[in-house]
Symmetry: C2
Subunit: 256 residues, 2 copies
DNA sequence: CGAGAAGTTGACGAACCTCAAACGATGTGG
DNA sequence: CCACATCGTTTGAGGTTCGTCAACTTCTCG
């Protein structure tokens, strides 16, 4: 049961035991958040570095008419922009969705990490690139896929990202969103989300009930959605046989 | 007529004359590209750093069914991911749209810049943050706005970004895309793009003919689109009175 | 002048939204 | 313990937005 952030960064660089220690020393103070708590409001000056340990946090923007759109989901191991301190004000807000646990690392500590340690710098930069790649894929998802494929694609991505940090076994994973919020991330109305979900359920592709996604056959769902995990730039072990991941802590099949 | 990349970076950090010289020395070798030339294909290993000097380059992804989606437009002064060398393969392709002029800076030169010069590092990181912010705004654009507002919003953004590097005067700017390609960036069919354009034209909000966007009244268009430039994190001078920009080369009204 | 590419228009259908109502679960105060 | 409110989910009906198909026009370039 390693720290999910370390689990994640292992995909981007080969961390030494010392790197682990450095990271862990900065991640000590954990904070528990209730559902729908505000971390940062749009317009606020950027704060320290948030690292999600458990639960889900979202980035979101609100339009003039009050419409809210979710532009990213941060899962365990994810953290928000390392360099955001350069900006004067946030162009989006951060809120928890379900209950969650996270750490705030002071900015100067992060600066220390990335200025002193080339491996950590590489790992953090890798993570930033992946975040951007995910944004691009979400853009394609909204721009070029219909509701059912769009939703299926999101489920595939979340599954892959969770598996990559060792979460979500046996064909399912927790996703503490309401259908309303799912709609806000997929650009769909609540009603249409509901109909799309029942369609996926009926075709035996995926179910989403009481905050849990179940996927009976991931290959079938991935094929349906046109999902290909290349853009996540994970080490290859995420595919197949996830049991191996659980036991062999942090092993990577391919060198950088 | 400064270099557009320098123009752009001035928004993110206060560059000295020496910084200018450093940048310019790396930007000497320019390359001319015909329309629709391929810079990098999806799946290729990342190449050096591209800097656009004139014209427009796009990032795009293609789906299984051959559908293409444009996930970013790179305007003069823009460059692609400084750290992309960390990834094994590109998750998207890069192509020119109209004819354009660009530079390829070798990766080791870029590494030199950002490791030796704190100001340049800050400026480049700022640019990366802005790229991500733009992606998020595009996501909202696709997810939460209808065709006319969506298109209007894109026009507002492009205008702002071009003005920020001193291009596109007197109520218009070049945009060398076909309606097909405009549709690929907005997630709309060609037919609908055409109808939306004629709607904007009819309401006197904007016109797009033979690769040129004209905006009679930017405030009206921005209001229509719900456009607010905060997410571009530009120095404040972009607003109003762009004539001042043309004459006072690189001057900034607000310190970092 | 001819051929191909881009733009334009109409008709029709599909995807998706809005409004509205009902249902179930959960929690709260009397 | 029940009445009641609240929140999330579900379902129906009808309208709007947008896509597809197909034809036609205009522009560009050789």
């Amino acid at each position: 049961m390693t720290n999910p952030m370390i689990r994640k960064l292992e995909h981007g660089a080969r961390l030494t035991a010392e790197d682990h220690a450095t990271l862990l020393s900065g991640l000590k103070a954990t904070r528990r958040l209730p559902p729908h708590a505000t971390l940062i409001r749009e317009g606020d000056p950027p704060d320290g570095l948030f690292v999600v340990l458990k639960g889900v946090v979202c980035r979101h923007k609100v339009l003039r008419d009050g419409e809210r759109h979710i532009v990213a989901l941060l899962l365990p191991g994810d953290f928000c922009d390392v360099h955001a301190g350069l900006l004067k004000s946030m162009d989006h807000g951060l809120s928890s969705l379900g209950p969650c646990v996270l750490t705030t690392v002071p900015r100067n500590v992060v600066s220390d990490w990335i200025s002193r340690n080339a491996t950590l710098r590489q790992a953090m930069n890798w993570a930033a690139l992946v975040d951007e790649a995910i944004l691009r894929e979400w853009l394609v998802n909204l721009g070029a896929r219909r509701a059912p494929q769009r939703m299926a694609h999101l489920f595939c991505e979340l599954r892959a990202r969770l598996y990559a940090v060792g979460e979500g076994r046996d064909g399912g994973f927790p996703l503490p969103l309401t259908q309303e919020e799912l709609g806000q991330t997929l650009g769909l109305s609540v009603v249409h989300v509901n109909r799309t979900l029942s369609q996926l359920r009926q075709e035996g592709l995926a179910t989403f009930r009481s905050g849990v996604v179940r996927i009976p056959d991931i290959d079938r769902l991935a094929d349906f959605a046109g999902f290909s995990p290349a853009y996540l730039h994970l080490a290859p072990f995420w595919q197949k046989d996830q049991a191996a991941v659980a036991s062999s802590d942090g092993v990577r099949m391919a060198a950088s």
